[in-house]
């Protein structure tokens, strides 16, 4: 995205570029809420010791691992277009199984290593400072889109 910024500014007015960024930020908020929703549902559905007990630490660990995995997959996106019909139906199930496996493994580790769990929790607490930037930015973007359309 940022690679094309110079040509964007050549093609678009600053207000147009801000609308584009606003849409992207709002979508990012939506995606974050979807992932949070999935974590919350999982924590609600599964027995407490598997997720709910150390939700903050475990959720943070899962978010990092899944984010890293998704990033690595993104770098090889062309692979998806080479998958045949059997693979394309099997791979999502495999990924789902891996995610559940991760939940159980992370629960196992965090329940047995309280100091590590405390460390992760304290890290997660520190990272919440970014929410003070991320959430207002998302709300401003949301407001900007509506204002831009109605002005």
């Amino acid at each position: 995205m940022f690679y094309f910024v110079p040509s964007w500014l050549g093609d678009y007015k600053l207000s147009d570029a801000l609308v584009i960024c606003a849409y992207v930020v709002v979508f990012a908020l939506l995606e974050s809420l979807v992932m949070l929703g999935i974590f919350l549902i999982s924590a609600t559905v599964l027995p407490a010791k598997f997720f709910r007990k150390e939700f903050s630490a475990q959720g943070s660990v899962l978010a990092v691992i899944l984010g890293a995995g998704a990033y690595l997959l993104q770098r090889k996106m062309k692979i998806i277009y080479t998958l045949n019909l059997q693979e394309i139906t099997a791979y999502p199930l495999v990924i789902l199984a891996l995610i559940f496996g991760l939940i159980f493994i992370s629960a196992f580790i965090l329940n047995r290593l309280p100091e590590f769990t405390r460390f992760i929790t304290s890290l997660a607490d520190r990272f919440t400072v970014f929410l003070y930037i991320y959430i207002p930015l998302s709300l401003v973007s949301l407001g900007y889109i509506f204002l831009y359309r109605f002005l």
């Binding site: 147009d16 992207v24 979508f27 997959l73 998806i80 019909l85």
Partner: protein, 509 residues
């Protein structure tokens, strides 16, 4: 004996004759939804993206690529010297819409838009109120231009209409935000094949698209053994036959008179002909090889020949489907009361080591495009060899609509359509995609064509700055010999080109 008319008879006659002008003004009982008279013929404007005139058998090409277009042309006016105003979609289509050269509308980059001050001067506004206007393009960049005129369109079909699988996202947003949606969603968050801006949801979208594709492919493997055609820069896959069926439905069901702008992606790459046409031109033919140009690429000739073969097969496939569409339109009687215009936005190169149209070069294969116009009831073919440009389309459509030629148009009414062009008329081509929309045109290729002479100026290119090339198109149609230093017309044309370029390359607000 002098005849005598009584006062009563005189008054009756005077009243009757006096009513005649008013009788003519009584509206026809079959007025359309627009209120225009149904005697106004429809206009069907069809563009095939990246279709070069050089690759059509209609224009003497070695391979029999266009038998159906040839048949269509047998009752139409064929323009043999028609050029686009640029060598890729955005500026060329913008020139068609505005009847202005790219330096005026400044939609010179791939994702560029027409400048706001220029927006009121466009084809759709001109024809607004006279026609029911519908538009459909499979090219997302041309679609961005259509969104700039959406308020004049009665029906605007998105590029993923009539498609097999996949979708575009930007057109799901409000019309005013579609342009931003393309950049933010389709070209970043859900960008095809490369790393997406969206980490998770885009993967699900891709899986969904590929699943749909594989399910379709299992049924269509025999029809498209090398893959199903796809809209460039999107995840939308389509069958040409389905698209043509869809087009027939929307045209047939449109209130008359209508103006339809139809811009189909084939034969733009990726070249995906059906099995019926695959390898039909595997004839071993290789055109004359031309030497590499400094600004071109170095694709080996064998590879270029292969691409050319696939391109020709894709054209033949498209020509077949076009024939089907024409047959249906003819069956409904639509050809009898419609102008049908077949053209392209730009051509495609297969020479000098360069393949495609993403190039700073403006040789004839990439700017000379077909133009065939069938008038209502036309029974015989006419051929026009005068120099024309796609900026001439708008004033010609105004002529078809009974409207005066717009003063702001840089084009003229096409020869054979009610006006004659001056044989010494200049037409221009500009390639400037590496510049800012409103800035100085620092890096550009500009071509000036006057009669049979063509002068090309390259400005701002590393290792090829401030260079001129001059070609005599009549005696050297392959543009093999650069006569810049020897031709007597070269210097005069250079003087005029330099003056024009100095004026139009300045920044705009």
């Amino acid at each position: 004996m002098k005849s005598q008319i009584s006062r009563r008879e005189f008054l009756k006659a005077a009243a009757t004759f006096g009513m005649l002008p008013w009788i003519n003004r009584i509206p026809d009982s079959q007025t359309s939804a627009t209120g225009a008279s149904s005697e106004q013929p429809n206009i069907i404007l069809i563009l095939f993206d990246a279709l070069s005139a050089f690759n059509l058998s209609l224009y003497g090409y070695q391979r029999e690529t266009s038998p159906n277009i040839d048949r269509f042309a047998s009752k139409a006016t064929v323009y043999h010297n028609h050029h686009s105003a640029a060598n890729f979609t955005t500026p060329s289509t913008a020139s068609l819409f505005t009847s202005m050269y790219p330096w005026d509308h400044r939609a010179v980059t791939l994702t560029g838009n027409i400048l706001e001050p220029v927006l009121p001067y466009n084809l759709f506004r001109l024809l607004n109120g006279k026609f029911f206007q519908l538009a459909f393009t499979q090219n997302v960049y041309a679609d961005m231009l259509l969104y700039q005129f959406h308020r004049y369109l009665d029906q605007h079909y998105p590029p993923d209409s009539f498609s097999l699988v996949g979708n575009t996202i930007y057109n799901k947003l409000p019309d005013e935000d579609a342009i931003f949606g393309l950049k933010g969603f389709d070209q970043f968050l859900f960008r095809r094949e490369e790393a997406h801006g969206s980490l998770f949801l885009s993967i699900l979208n891709d899986l969904n698209t590929v699943l749909g594709l594989r399910l379709s492919e299992s049924e269509l493997m025999e029809l498209h053994p090398h893959g199903i055609p796809r809209l460039a820069n999107t995840d939308v896959y389509f069958l040409m036959s389905q698209v043509m069926d869809g087009l027939f439905e929307i045209i047939n069901n449109s209130p008359q008179p209508f103006f339809s702008y139809i811009h189909l992606l084939p034969p733009h790459s990726p070249y995906m002909p059906t099995s019926q046409f695959l390898d039909t031109f595997d004839d071993g033919w290789s055109p004359q090889q031309k030497k590499y140009h400094k600004l071109g690429t170095r694709v080996p000739q064998a590879k270029i020949n292969f691409f050319r073969q696939r391109y020709d097969e894709f054209i033949a496939n498209l020509d077949f489907e076009f024939g089907q569409l024409l047959g249906k339109l003819e069956g409904q009687g639509l050809l009898q009361n419609s102008y049908v215009i077949l053209t392209s936005d730009h051509g495609e190169m297969f020479e000098r080591g360069t393949h495609g149209h993403s190039t700073p070069l403006v040789f004839e294969p990439v700017i000379r495009i077909p133009l065939i116009i069938s008038a209502p009831g036309q029974a015989e073919r006419k051929d026009v060899y005068q120099l024309t440009s796609n900026v001439d389309i708008l004033p010609t459509l105004a002529q078809f609509s009974g409207l005066p030629e717009p003063e702001w148009s840089e084009g003229v009414i096409l020869p054979g359509m009610g006006s004659e062009t001056d044989i010494e008329r200049d037409i221009w081509v500009l390639e400037a995609k590496k510049n800012h929309t409103r800035g100085t045109l620092d890096k550009a290729t500009i071509a000036m064509i006057r009669g049979q002479n063509k002068l090309v100026y390259y400005h701002g290119y590393k290792h090829y700055h401030d260079k001129y090339e001059f070609y005599d198109l009549r005696n050297d149609p392959g543009e093999l010999e650069n006569l810049y230093h020897s031709h007597p017309e070269a210097k005069q044309m250079q003087f005029e080109l330099d003056a024009r370029y100095a004026r139009v390359s300045q920044p705009v607000k």
